[in-house]
């Protein structure tokens, strides 16, 4: 690793709010998508000549199709309650990373072209012409938001900056300046079926390898079925689960759970991705097209149920949006939630005593849990509000004797983003990722010192990758981060062997 040209924030046991430092992150922006990656998604390849007109048309369009936009852009009273809630502001001090200031980048243009006050008295109400500098600012600061929704919890009008960021990114992509990382990935899903561009033979190989590995490890024939028609359950996992650490241990965990439950299941090579970066660029059509593969696969394989693996934004899209995007799911078994989270799946089996966990298997660990932003604030598990906090903790307590929570202002609905969500999990944004992780790192440091925590479990592929990368910057081991289903899998009592 080359030495980074920025400083990692110091760990503090309490979360301080930094002073405003204008321009502190002005230099941070991700690589711009190449023409081919833009065009594959239906966006122009490069900045169009009449970009201003196109941008304003797009904005006008969005204002008519998303109620959140006019309501949020009109309603903010600049009360400031959100200003110290964003991990990117807390980590960088750049005032344009305060949620309201991030919204204002779009709001000032909205006021100028779409409101009476801004048309006639622009100075008075902070309205601004749409210039290249503004466009540049949009590109920079709409890629310093992980769409984590933390700000929306504290706003008296529920203003969700993630909605504004999505609109900003969609406008940018529509005039020809998309983000390389996200758009390239969406293109791969459209073409091959997963973020990694992993074709069927490679996927089949990987799964065979996993079967051997588990067999060697515990001597049990745990299967990783692929494209098996007539299976009961289609399991959709983030593709990182196929090979990345610690993700793959989570996948092994799901496989063990299915093995022990006796319920037949399959992965799909056509729909080999739970992630849906369409949400990150805020584009309905792309989000739908990515999701559509899953409906198709489920119908073709003739499954009765769909279970989704550990991934935060994927679960938000699946839980909150799938029914709208690719429903109705009248071809699936209505007795089970559609879709079902793998944590719900395992938790149900546990409560029916179909599975048994031996928590002693994890006695070498003291475990804490990172609530993923999209799961916490954009979805649910189980049949009551807040089930998304209860169920993973129930599983962890069943799988580990030593479980402790981090401080309450950093968990549940108040959780901090890992710093790499929302399409920012790319090395060209490393400084932002490291700094944005600092609020979570502070809370983690505290339980390490106070409770001797050794591991942090997560249920999101992005969180896992992000923490593996940034933990070392804070002097912590990258293997502190584990998949929840790794812990479950290790504690699971299997009939033939353990």
């Amino acid at each position: 690793m080359t030495k980074p040209d920025f400083e990692t924030p110091e760990l503090t046991l309490t979360q301080d709010v930094p002073a405003v430092q204008p321009g502190a992150m002005e230099h941070s922006k991700p690589f711009v998508a190449k023409a081919a990656h833009q065009e594959a998604l239906g966006f122009p390849g490069e900045l169009v000549d009449n970009w201003k007109e196109v941008a304003l048309d797009k904005m006008s369009d969005l204002l008519k199709t998303y109620r959140s936009l006019p309501v949020f852009l009109d309603s903010c009273v600049k009360c400031g309650a959100c200003t110290d809630k964003c991990h990117y502001y807390l980590g960088t001090g750049d005032p344009k990373n305060m949620p309201v200031a991030r919204q204002d980048l779009l709001r000032s243009v909205y006021r100028r072209y779409f409101t009476v006050a801004g048309k006639f008295l622009p100075k008075l109400v902070g309205a601004k012409d749409l210039t290249e500098e503004v466009l540049e600012d949009w590109y920079k600061y709409y890629h310093q938001c992980s769409e984590c929704r933390r700000c929306s919890v504290y706003c008296p009008y529920g203003i969700d900056t993630a909605e504004i960021t999505m609109a900003g990114r969609e406008i940018l992509a529509s005039v020809g300046i998309g983000q390389k990382y996200s758009n390239e990935i969406i293109g791969k899903v459209h073409k091959i079926g997963n973020n990694l561009g992993l074709p069927k033979p490679a996927l089949a190989d990987t799964l065979d390898g996993l079967e051997e590995e588990v067999k060697e490890d515990i001597g049990v024939d745990v299967k990783f079925p692929l494209d098996q028609s007539g299976a009961d359950v289609l399991v959709i996992v983030p593709s990182a689960d196929f090979f990345a650490e610690p993700h793959v241990d989570g996948l092994i965990g799901y496989a063990k759970v299915f093995h022990q439950s006796g319920i037949s299941w399959t992965l799909s090579s056509y729909a080999s991705e739970a992630a849906n970066f369409g949400i990150f660029v805020g584009n309905y059509e792309n989000m739908q097209k990515v999701a559509e593969r899953i409906r198709t696969a489920a119908m073709e394989l003739g499954v009765k149920r769909i279970v989704v693996g550990e991934c935060g934004h994927a679960w938000r899209v699946a839980y909150s949006f799938w029914n709208t995007l690719i429903g109705p799911f009248d071809f699936l078994d209505p007795k089970f939630p559609i879709p079902q989270h793998v944590c719900e799946f395992t938790n149900d089996l546990l409560s029916q005593h179909i599975l048994r966990l031996d928590a002693e298997a994890n006695d070498d660990k003291i475990v804490t849990f990172h609530d993923s932003c999209n799961v916490s604030r954009g979805s649910r598990m189980g049949n009551q509000p807040g089930g998304q906090f209860i169920i993973p903790r129930q599983l962890l307590r069943a799988a580990c004797n030593n479980f402790v929570d981090m401080s309450p202002e950093t968990t549940h609905e108040h959780t901090f983003c890992c710093g790499g969500g929302g399409g920012l999990l790319t090395d060209d944004l490393l400084e932002l990722r490291v700094k944005g992780a600092s609020p979570r790192m502070n809370a983690l440091q505290r339980v390490i010192e106070d409770e001797g925590v050794t591991h942090m479990a997560a249920i999101c592929a992005i969180c896992k990758s992000q923490f593996s990368k940034v933990l070392p910057f804070y002097g912590m081991g990258m293997d502190m981060i584990v998949s929840l289903h790794q812990l479950v899998g290790d504690a699971l009592v299997l009939d033939n062997g353990h």
Binding site: A19, D74, S75, T115, A117, S320, F321, N323, T324, P339
Partner: protein, 241 residues
């Protein structure tokens, strides 16, 4: 005086109602294509009503967000509620009993508004983050409110005005039987600025008042699995291949 005022009053009222109505119509008719309540969220309409009530009556989210802003904001708004009810005595004859029964609270409401406004303004000037996000109109809005409340309190405590005459003027407006208005400076300032407030209401951040009810993160149910939500802008949200 009375005539000029009457004309201004009608003009401001028509503008207020029409412009605000158009804005509300826009909010009400723009679809919310996806299910986006900030979770954990209620799963039923009854639950949503409860959440909305807690939001509007107690400022629940703001309370989670910032205790000082919450305190001053709440003082201001609930002072205003009291003052508005108290002011109904100028348009009811005989005065409704529930309006009459809270008359004594009126001046306290005015003072609560004043304290709230002062606190909010100090925060806007002193806290670097809030200063950064403030533009001229944010300060002017506070100034306008302070002037309206201040001129009202001046009439209560310093230069009492002929409120019988004010009342007959107000009733005259309603009955289209125009009456003269006292010409003391405080009452003129108070009324002119209130008309200004009515005029800018539908074009400014005061739209937060209707806005909060239309906020999809607060008014949607968390039931996407149980009930299929459609975008509202596509005939069929699911294109077959």
């Amino acid at each position: 005086m009375g005539i000029i005022f009457s004309v201004l009053f009608y003009a401001a009222s028509v503008l207020f109602v029409v412009a605000l109505g158009r804005r509300i119509f826009k909010y009400a008719t723009t679809p919310a294509p996806l299910v986006i309540p900030t979770t954990p969220a209620p799963m039923t309409w009854l639950g949503v009503i409860g959440r909305m009530l807690r939001e509007v009556v107690f400022f629940e989210s703001l309370f989670k967000g910032n205790k000082w802003t919450w305190l001053f904001g709440w003082l201001f708004h609930f002072g205003m509620l009291i003052v508005l009810v108290e002011h109904l005595r100028y348009v009811s004859e005989p005065v409704w009993f529930w309006v009459a029964s809270i008359q004594w609270l009126g001046p306290y409401g005015g003072m609560a508004m004043f304290v709230g406004l002062a606190g909010l303004w100090v925060r806007r000037l002193v806290v670097d983050r809030v200063r950064y996000i403030s533009v001229l109109s944010d300060h002017l809005m506070l100034g306008l409110m302070v002037a309206i409340v201040g001129s009202g309190l001046v009439m209560v405590y310093v230069f009492p005005t002929d409120i019988v005459m004010v009342k007959s003027f107000m009733l005259g407006l309603i009955k289209f039987d125009w009456q003269p208005l006292p010409s003391d400076p405080p009452v003129v300032v108070h009324l002119v600025l209130t008309l200004v407030l009515m005029i800018i209401f539908p074009f400014s951040k005061l739209l937060h008042a209707p806005g909060v009810f239309f906020s999809p993160t607060r008014n949607m149910r968390d039931n996407p699995r149980e009930r299929r939500h459609t975008t509202g802008w596509r005939s069929d949200a699911h294109p077959e291949k």
